[in-house]
């Protein structure tokens, strides 16, 4: 086991930032800490980096107690949301920093450092930029330099705090692929923090979903998506609709029609059902919610519908362009049948 986090609790003066957080990362794993702001994910990252101490619990790496080591001794590569590049140093000096500050005995020779910097510049595809200052780089380039600087010390773990937060959507997608490739090439255990579920699902081997300082669920992206354990995870991972119903032995009665429910800890009785926009069928006269079409809009590969029931509830659904939905017009009255319904405790 590479990184082991056990029962970590951290309380700030007024609120519990983390309560009883436990998870592990395999060697070479790419792990995402996913949660909304205030979920404690950045606090957790700072604890891993040694920038803060937990109130209780343990953090170990390869069996070594991390909590007894300070930030300097942990040899962790950290990439900050703001990049935190040293503004008065060139790109090459930034990357070399972690090597040149080592005490004289452990320091590599100048030639070794130079070679290392050059190989890293090559890795981040900025060979020609070594002599530039951070202010002369684009956001994406700065991000890559920050990563190279963190990798220079050959870190035992790479920690990334919202690494793409400050970049525009296009650059972000590009850098995401690139980061994954760098990770696969270097094989370094990586933990990154994000509030963007798409990013987490796209990049990580496994995702730790945090809510209000507690772990809500840990799993591979597909597992989380298919088997969400709670309403929070279900809602956080994508768009969804909600409707009241009555649960009875795995079947939910919406008053007028029923559907098979995937039940996660809920007991029979009045419940809130949840379903994804694309887990639905539209028909002119079949069973389902009687809804009026509010809008029909293209959404990439799909059509996006906004539908409203007689008592004012709005559903958002997605359908293939060549489905029943393509014939709909605003104002039509149709039936909406959810095909995959989740009911959480």
């Amino acid at each position: 086991m590479s990184l082991t986090v056990s029962n970590i609790t951290k309380t700030f003066t007024k609120f519990a930032a983390l309560s009883d957080v436990t998870f592990e990362a395999e060697p070479g794993e790419f792990l995402a800490l996913l949660g909304p702001s205030g979920s404690g994910k950045t606090t957790l990252l700072r604890l891993l980096a040694g920038l803060d101490q937990p109130d209780s619990g343990a953090i170990a790496f390869d069996g070594e107690n991390f909590l007894s080591l300070n930030a300097r001794e942990r040899r962790i590569g950290m990439v900050f949301q703001s990049y935190a590049l040293f503004r008065h140093m060139t790109v090459a000096e930034n990357i070399a920093f972690g090597l040149t500050v080592r005490p004289a005995g452990e320091r590599k020779t100048k030639a070794q450092i130079k070679a290392k910097v050059e190989s890293l510049l090559k890795l981040i595809q900025l060979e020609e930029y070594g002599k530039r200052f951070p202010a002369q780089l684009s956001g994406g380039q700065r991000q890559r330099v920050a990563l190279a600087r963190a990798l220079a010390i050959e870190p035992r773990i790479l920690l990334l705090d919202e690494p793409f937060g400050a970049l525009d959507a296009l650059v972000r997608k590009d850098l995401r692929r690139w980061l994954r490739r760098i990770h696969d090439e270097t094989g370094v255990t990586t933990v990154f923090v994000t509030h963007d579920q798409e990013e987490a699902l796209d990049l990580a081997d496994r995702v730790v979903v945090l809510k209000e300082g507690r772990i809500e669920q840990i799993g591979a992206p597909l597992e989380l998506y298919r088997e969400p354990k709670s309403a929070f995870v279900f809602e956080f991972l994508g768009a969804n609709n909600q409707a009241p119903g009555t649960l009875l032995g795995g079947t939910i009665d919406f008053g007028g029609f029923t559907a098979t429910a995937i039940v996660k800890g809920a007991s029979d009785g009045a419940v809130t059902a949840r379903f994804r926009p694309f887990d639905t069928q539209i028909s002119r006269s079949g069973p389902g919610f009687a809804v009026k079409v509010l809008s029909v809009l293209p959404a990439g590969a799909n059509l996006r519908l906004e539908l409203q029931t007689a008592d004012g509830q709005v559903f958002e659904t997605q359908h293939a362009h060549d489905s029943e939905a393509s014939d709909l017009h605003v104002g039509d009255t149709v039936s909406l049948l959810p095909t995959k319904v989740y009911v959480f405790a």
Partner: protein
């Protein structure tokens, strides 16, 4: 690159405002400066040279430079330490500390001189003890330094605090995760990032320290050739109706201030690129 502010249209109002600014500058700053130089050289070079080479005046110049040379480094170190505390840590009484740093800006320099008299003067709290041990603070160099330090205390700290607040701690934290120790972080990250503000603060502090009159006047004792700094020497000469000599000394003091400003401009010009890079980031 910092964006250039869009140029405002040249309306009558804009032209009028510019004229007011130029006129005011000429009236309030240039006119007195010119007066000093004109008065100093009114009777030709010989009296001017005689006045500035007079032993008491030379002693005053030396003392002024010595006081500044001691007081400014003290306040530079204090300023860095205070700015570091205030911008890097959260603690109770931070607001109070900020207010106290500003205090010398608001209290009269005379009071800044008087407090040292109350503490170390012959009738002061420690007066008897100092006399017993033959330690001279007021009417001597230590008193002049203390008074100057108190008056010029805020200059460096006030330059650094907004900048360090603005820059945040990210770079220092990054340096720590990369293995840097405390002093490494200070000398390789913090200090380079604040060096221009520090230079600026030190220059302002120096100019103010050399020109300080009120506080120094109280603790000096006005012993000619011993405890008179240049501003005090000027006053004495002026009160003795030695106008040329007074203005000659004044021109030297003004000259020191102008040298300080030129030094600052040269530094800004010489390191314009780096300065800009610092700001742009």
């Amino acid at each position: 690159m910092r964006a250039r502010p869009a140029e405002a249209p040249k309306t009558p109002a804009a032209v009028g405002l510019s004229l007011v600014a130029v006129f005011w500058l000429a009236l309030i700053i240039l006119l007195p400066l010119v007066t000093v130089l004109v008065e100093a050289s009114k009777e030709g070079a010989a009296p001017f040279l005689a006045a500035v080479t007079e032993p008491d005046t030379i002693a005053a110049i030396q003392l002024t430079l010595l006081v500044a040379a001691i007081a400014v480094p003290l306040n530079a170190v204090f300023g860095i330490a205070a700015a570091w505390c205030i911008t890097r840590f959260e603690f109770k009484g931070k607001g109070l500390l900020l207010t106290i740093i500003d205090l010398p800006f608001t209290i009269s320099p005379v009071i800044a001189g008087l407090v040292w008299m109350l503490l170390f003067g012959a009738q002061g709290w420690f007066g008897a003890w100092l006399r017993l041990n033959d330690i001279h603070i007021v009417f001597a160099l230590p008193g002049l330094v203390l008074a100057t330090v108190l008056v010029t205390l805020p200059f460096v700290a006030r330059e650094l605090i907004p900048l360090m607040n603005d820059q945040g701690t990210d770079e220092e934290v990054a340096a720590r995760t990369l293995g840097a120790r405390g002093w490494d972080i200070f000398f390789r990250i913090t200090l380079p990032n604040i060096k221009w503000a520090l230079v600026y603060g030190v220059l302002l502090c120096t100019a103010r320290a050399m020109g300080e009159f009120g506080a120094v006047s109280v603790v000096s004792g006005h012993i000619r050739g011993q405890t008179n700094t240049l501003p005090l020497q000027i006053e004495i000469l002026y009160n003795q109706y030695e106008a040329v000599a007074a203005f000659a000394c004044a021109s030297i003091l003004a000259g020191l201030a102008i040298v300080t400003l030129i030094l600052k401009s040269v530094l800004e010009w010489r390191f314009a690129d780096e300065l800009a890079a610092n700001r742009r980031h």
